[in-house]
Symmetry: C2
Subunit: 303 residues, 2 copies
Amino acid sequence: MSAPVPACESTLAPLPESLLVGVSGGVDSVALLHALVRAGRRPVVLHFDHGWRTDSRDDALRVRELARQLGLRFIGGKMKPAAGAPRETAARAARYAFFARTARKLGIPDLALAHHADDQVETFLMQLLRGGGAAARGMEAVTRRDGLILHRPWLGVWKKEITAYARRRRFAWRDDATNADTRHRRNLVRRRLLPYLQKLAGKQVAQSLWRAAEIQRAESEWLDALCADEAWRPELAVKTLRAAPLARQRRTILRWLQQGGVEDISFADVEAVRGLLENRIPAKVNLSAGRFARRRAGKIFIM
Amino acid sequence: MSAPVPACESTLAPLPESLLVGVSGGVDSVALLHALVRAGRRPVVLHFDHGWRTDSRDDALRVRELARQLGLRFIGGKMKPAAGAPRETAARAARYAFFARTARKLGIPDLALAHHADDQVETFLMQLLRGGGAAARGMEAVTRRDGLILHRPWLGVWKKEITAYARRRRFAWRDDATNADTRHRRNLVRRRLLPYLQKLAGKQVAQSLWRAAEIQRAESEWLDALCADEAWRPELAVKTLRAAPLARQRRTILRWLQQGGVEDISFADVEAVRGLLENRIPAKVNLSAGRFARRRAGKIFIM
């Protein structure tokens, strides 16, 4: 576990001065908080209580107490109780809504998160297995979303390095909390698929997958930059698009459908719209929620 | 198993008129041979006997007999007996050397192979698990290699479609032969990993992985085309390369090392050479087999 792994502290240098940090109370986020403080930062500590467990309030209290000890501002949020168990996607949406709300209130858009190399491998595997209109590429080191700027300085640091760092520095954390918001799918990948892959093909499989995600991510970023100048227009010109490389056709169509407000876009949808570039009949493709794309007079429209 | 799956016959139309076809005697290649003949082609039938099994000579005789029945020319090759069991890479090399030799002799460079969508998924998974300097992208529909032009018209057709097609048309094949040259690693992926993934995440996992490979493949092809104008030079200019997108830096370095005759290039090698773009000390990176890269006066050299 050597080459792509920078130290827990050195990777924090590029982060902006004013900063929020998301702290669940598990080893990753507790270590990130301490590392930031050791690097001379004074982040605002955000904690979101999903109500996963009956004792989840303990986590909130511990994180609040940790922030107090470090002399940092603490802001907590809480999931509204819903009928039945909270679902992963709803919990995630509520957490990010809390982060975005708080960022706006404080006027600090930058939020540091403790996602690490093992999380990256899991995310990449989940994207691969799910498939979709776009390439699997893992998480980005910096993402903009609802007015937040999410920073993930530890995507190249492995969990075991974080744990070793936290032990060496004698930080106190709560073991369970780390996995509190990981539900069904991610847990399957973490607890069953990855160990299975390592048994089958060797321990270095995690690094191979990490490298694969990193290569795809950077290549996707480059291609995104190449397409960034395309302003959205209500129609696509068949002749221009037909002359573009296959992958560019796909990207242009995917972006065009997304920006045109089409939902649940699958690879098959993209390929079907791409099929409209040929002069085939029928010149119409059904999309989700009653939307459709149609070719007429050398142009493709969404309805 | 619907969207990306064209019929066994319609995908053969773009193949060139003069053609070789590799036939092991298993369902895939026997079906491909018949499909070509049904499409009006008269391919030369090539069979390579790896000597995997004691009865592998039976396969050669069956394929020869099939070619005779179809009125096609047959050319067989045979692995030279080696000490111990033949290894997969050696067998593969010997098979392609036979194909290339025959292509030269006949003056027909085009060779059709029966690799299908399931093979593509396996190859993609193996590339992902192995990691490497370049992105996992599966096999190409057309590859040039040692004077051969390999065509894989069935990368979008699933094995079960081929089997159904072969049954419907009442072709005769020998079941074992299909997997004769797949050894340890590919068999692990086929017989254990893929069924496991499907149990874990659903039957559609194979399609998701196929789509992922197809998206990566097309994106890689686009990026290759963007870099195709770079002629090899004995040195890289630091300033120019530093200004390029990260993924382009990686591709340029990988190609440069490959074309400079460096072997066994890992992702870590590429990243280390990329590290020379920063003005760090030492300005030297060790590569395989005693080769190294060095930065001097704003340029990077391989020695």
